[in-house]
Symmetry: C2
Subunit: 648 residues, 2 copies
């Protein structure tokens, strides 16, 4: 069965059809290690954590297979961590015969299925307390966990033909469909997730009522159904502290939304489901709402790393242009959720701007969520740190680790799509895809040192001559892209798909070149804390200064417009990264001893420049405690453009 995360191959309103994971090989290059060793280490490490934290025991206990009570959890949604981990395993096993892992997966599934109740209900938090079922949709996360169960089951069903968990998921989905509908409970889950899961289950089974139930949940949202009853003091306190209806995106009907607000993962998961629904129904008002939210996100609320969520309070989006750096929340799961949503928008619309955002998040705020060895994680991904912030092997709320595991193991499935026009290339990285275009087998290969170098050598190999397009994403960050075929040079526009339509015969080489200059990027003047600062980026990668690479405190470094950067690939460093070195000014700190405020008349800069070294942002915090910053003051930020020469 083709292994897709989102299988829109029969969705009437999708533009693109994904090329499934099992048809793509990531061969070496930048991604080889991440989707190989790192993903494997992450999976096994997380399995140990799931066991140590009693998350697996919860199922055995609910199944009556142990009388020992599992550790009391701080949160009610522990089950979902196991399901997301299974989903990661599903994609991982799509092309790898790893019997030990497969055995472990089977045993975990066995416990889960044994914990399922007669009628299909499955939620260990309510084991032995049937009276609590569906009683607190606001905070209980039953449907959220069900959604992850369904996604995990589909992944394994598609990749290894797993049936047991799959039918358990179907049984639970049936119960949900019977329970939630206009004649049943008119409610929604406090944490969206079930919507996209049910639509994927519809795609997998063809069973229309899953689509209808998802649509029901989407339609019911925004009717204030999540406000807890007055007598529930705990829920009311939490509801109030978290900010009320908007935290749950329950403050207005989905079709009326125009500002992205509330808990970032909730909002973005909901958008995944809504976009999925659009691809099935074609309802324009859904897509219009998504377009409004996308613009609001990308134009006013997205970190330069692609991250989402500005507030610790309720892990939420802030106001327009509210993007603090050190106190960025920027949850790993929110970046992944944005990636997942942009993927769906890309499938729906076929526009490069969505793939640009996927790439941005992927190389920056997603990868920053996991250590190079796969066993340490960030929950928050701040853009600056004064020290004391480091990665953890696990969290009491452990949503992020398995989320990044499933993202990494599914990554091959995001590289390519097809449509009636031909083959679409979304992401660059050494890889091979085998596709069938109008009955003709085509093997497509990339060889590249991307993201460190902008040259991508591609070959198209056809079984027999065929006419189709190769659609290459031209990254939005690139000023002077070039595509070279048979000696012809094209100069495509950035942030488009460059369409190379021709009759392909045998083996053809296509060379793309996306020159990577170091870019100094400013942010909108309403992002007040970044005024006067720039971030450095090269290719898709945003850079940072980390104290471990520098003699001077990164918080004191300032650069100028004329700064010359030395770009160097250092194989031995951080798994191999391109670094930037440059001469920089250093803010005077001596004059500040014991003072927080002083007259600006005194000199603000020290007397000498110093050499500093920048690394890709995603790779920071892999070498112990450190000070880090992405945004750097530009001392001639306000320098005016030279006046236009007059004709005289």
């Amino acid at each position: 069965m083709p292994v897709n995360v989102v299988n829109v191959s029969r969705s009437p309103h999708a533009c693109l059809r994904p090329v499934p994971i099992d048809n793509v090989d990531i061969v070496g290059g930048f991604w080889g290690r991440w989707v190989g060793e790192t993903a494997r280490e992450a999976i096994w490490h997380q399995y140990r954590m799931l066991e140590e934290s009693d998350r697996l025991k919860r199922f055995r206990w609910a199944a009556g297979r142990t009388s020992e009570r599992p550790l009391r959890s701080l949160f009610v949604f522990d089950d979902s961590d196991v399901y997301k981990w299974l989903e990661a395993c599903g994609y991982y096993l799509a092309k790898r015969k790893e019997d030990e892992l497969k055995g472990v997966v089977e045993s975990v599934i066995d416990d889960i299925v044994a914990a399922q109740e007669e009628d299909g209900y499955l939620f260990t938090e309510h084991h032995g307390a049937p009276e609590r079922r569906w009683q607190n949709l606001t905070f209980d996360h039953e449907l959220y966990c069900a959604g992850h169960l369904i996604q995990g089951a589909i992944a394994l069903h598609r990749s290894v033909g797993e049936e047991k968990l799959f039918w358990a998921a179907v049984k639970f989905a049936n119960l949900i469909a019977e329970t939630f509908n206009p004649d049943g409970i008119r409610g929604v889950c406090g944490h969206p997730e079930i919507e996209m899961a049910l639509i994927e289950l519809y795609r997998e089974t063809g069973e229309k009522r899953y689509l209808e139930t998802a649509e029901f949940f989407i339609n019911e949202r925004g009717r204030d159904s999540l406000r807890p009853p007055p007598e529930d003091r705990l829920s009311n306190a939490l509801y109030r502290i978290f900010g009320g209806a908007s935290y749950f995106v329950d403050h207005a009907p989905v079709r009326e939304l125009s500002e992205i607000v509330g808990h970032a993962v909730r909002a973005l998961y909901l958008n995944c489901g809504v976009t999925d629904l659009y691809m099935e129904t074609g309802e324009r008002s859904l897509l219009d709402a998504m377009e409004r939210l996308w613009r609001n996100f990308v134009e006013r609320k997205m970190y330069i790393t692609g991250a989402a969520g500005s507030r610790y309070v309720s892990e939420a989006f802030g106001d327009d242009y509210e993007l603090p750096n050190e106190r960025a929340y920027a949850e790993t799961c929110a970046s992944i959720a944005s990636f997942m949503w942009n993927w769906r928008m890309l499938l729906a619309m076929g526009e490069a701007r969505f793939a640009d955002i996927m790439e941005l998040a992927l190389y920056n705020s997603i990868l920053s969520g996991i250590s190079l060895d796969g066993t340490r994680y960030f929950y928050m991904n701040p853009l600056a740190s004064s020290g004391g912030y480091s990665r953890s092997p696990w969290f009491p709320c452990a949503c992020c680790p398995p989320n990044i595991a499933r993202l990494l193991t599914s990554l091959p499935g995001y590289f390519y799509s097809t449509s009636e026009r031909g083959l679409w290339v979304h992401l660059y990285g050494s890889s091979k895809a085998t596709v069938n275009l109008d009955g003709v087998g085509v093997v497509f290969r990339q060889e590249t040192d991307y993201p460190w170098r902008g040259e991508v050598k591609m070959t198209v190999e056809c079984e027999e001559p065929a006419t189709f397009s190769l659609l290459l994403r031209v990254p939005g960050w690139c000023d002077e892209p070039r595509v070279n075929v048979d000696g012809r040079v094209y100069r495509p526009r950035p942030s488009t798909y460059f369409e190379l339509r021709r009759k392909w015969r045998g083996r053809t080489t296509v060379k793309a070149s996306f020159p990577m200059k170091v870019r100094k990027i400013a942010s909108h003047p309403y992002v007040r804390n970044n005024v006067g600062h720039v971030a450095l980026a090269r290719g898709p990668t945003v850079y940072c200064l980390e104290s471990v690479d520098n003699r001077v405190d990164p918080r004191l470094v300032a650069l100028e417009r004329g700064t010359v950067f030395r770009e160097r690939f250092r194989r031995e460093l951080l798994g191999g990264v391109a670094t930037l070195s440059f001469d920089a000014w250093v803010a005077d700190s001596a004059g500040w001893s014991g003072r927080l405020y002083r007259s600006v008349e005194a000199p603000m800069l020290g007397r000498r420049k110093t050499r500093v070294n920048a690394i890709p942002y995603y790779a920071w915090a892999n070498r112990g405690d450190s000070v880090m910053t992405v945004w750097l003051p530009l001392i001639d930020y306000w320098k005016r453009a030279p006046p236009k020469k007059s004709g005289r």
Copy 2:
């Protein structure tokens, strides 16, 4: 009876003795309106709000005087709002015969006293539920409310000789002393307040066990007694969300503290109690801890407006140098708490740095908490706003309005102190103080337009010739202070008390001059969001740009080092304020349409300068919804100092 907020006249380890409210007249000038009409409006407005919100009815209901249940409150500490309001009335009535208000106060007191239980316990939230008494010290605020009851009762006792509420407070204090001690309950209140209240009651009654009980609470703090029992899910959830022990300053014993952390008002109220305790016991380790916390606050965590508290999450102090502007929490109560603490530090140590902080908070983050007419309030006092943030007539958590009312009505009591050296002048403003120095009656007068002009004309009038010092605070913000007596000019050092010791005869005029240049102030480079920016200040007043005074969005305004400011007193504006106008650059915003990030190579400034107008920060948000900012980019911020001339 002398009306002091903090009566340390017999405290063995206080340096200064306050001149009580009833010995000070504020006559016209800047403060005349605030402590007169504005305070009166505030008191009557708040009385209506206390009635409307059923806070007064709670007492009548608990007293069995009405069978109607009061509105359900969102919080448990509603009683304290009434007590703080009574405290405000107490100071207000010290010199004003306003019978209508006095009658209202008496009737409120009558209801309160009727609600008191047999044994002295008084907390309407637990009326009819005796089993809840003292059960949840973490969140129930019983002792916090008791503290405000005691403070309110003392104020009225001192000002109008009120006895009924006073003895009710004593009765409750006795119960507390019997209940909380080494042989009784070993616990503390989640919200400090009772400590300073009990010490003040000790000062009022001479009853030592109130001092002992306060010391007991201070000693017990930091022993983790506030962690809720595991079975209390609500309390545990809140405890965790708020950040655990440090939220309550319960993470370490008081004497070991070195960083100011946790809920800002809790931390600062605790410091008030600890400083009070030091003034009674002289225990050096207490003062050392306060000195460490003061330095940490002033050198790393205080807003340029004097405000405290950087985080919405738990209304708390942030990390060192964490001072966001638009998302500043900067609660009005926290600024008042800082004022109260610095007053106690000043009384204890007699150093001008404490009075400097009081003045800073007073003219900026405290006054900003109340509208010019006294009837609208800020809970948070951000240093920037993109609009949509306005003052409210009341809050569900209504701590701030009565707090600022009691601050305003007690303000005369903070102007002057005495010591064996003589008369100390802490604050400037037209006023008259009548004091007795070594048996000689002295009348001291100030005439001044402070804070708009730095000239202060003072007269010292003695009944008979006497030798003593006049100690004038020289504001820390002033570069070139001058004091002129009998034709002699002194040039005192800023942030000291200038001591003018002499034999005074009859009437002597002393002229002080504190020239008010517009200051461009930078903040420490670790305050990342202010790098490249300056704040404008003049005298004690910090300025802001508000959209209502400007054609250009204040967020786009940038200035340069050579900016010439036009300073103008505008009597008709905002109750009379000095404004600043200047020519400023405007950041290019047109080039940003639909973009959040772009290359810095494009011009960042528009082509023309524009005239802008700044007003004192405290006066913003009095003219409808607006955009506001305190910090402004300085386009030549990083300009290097000219190289020193070489000897050649």
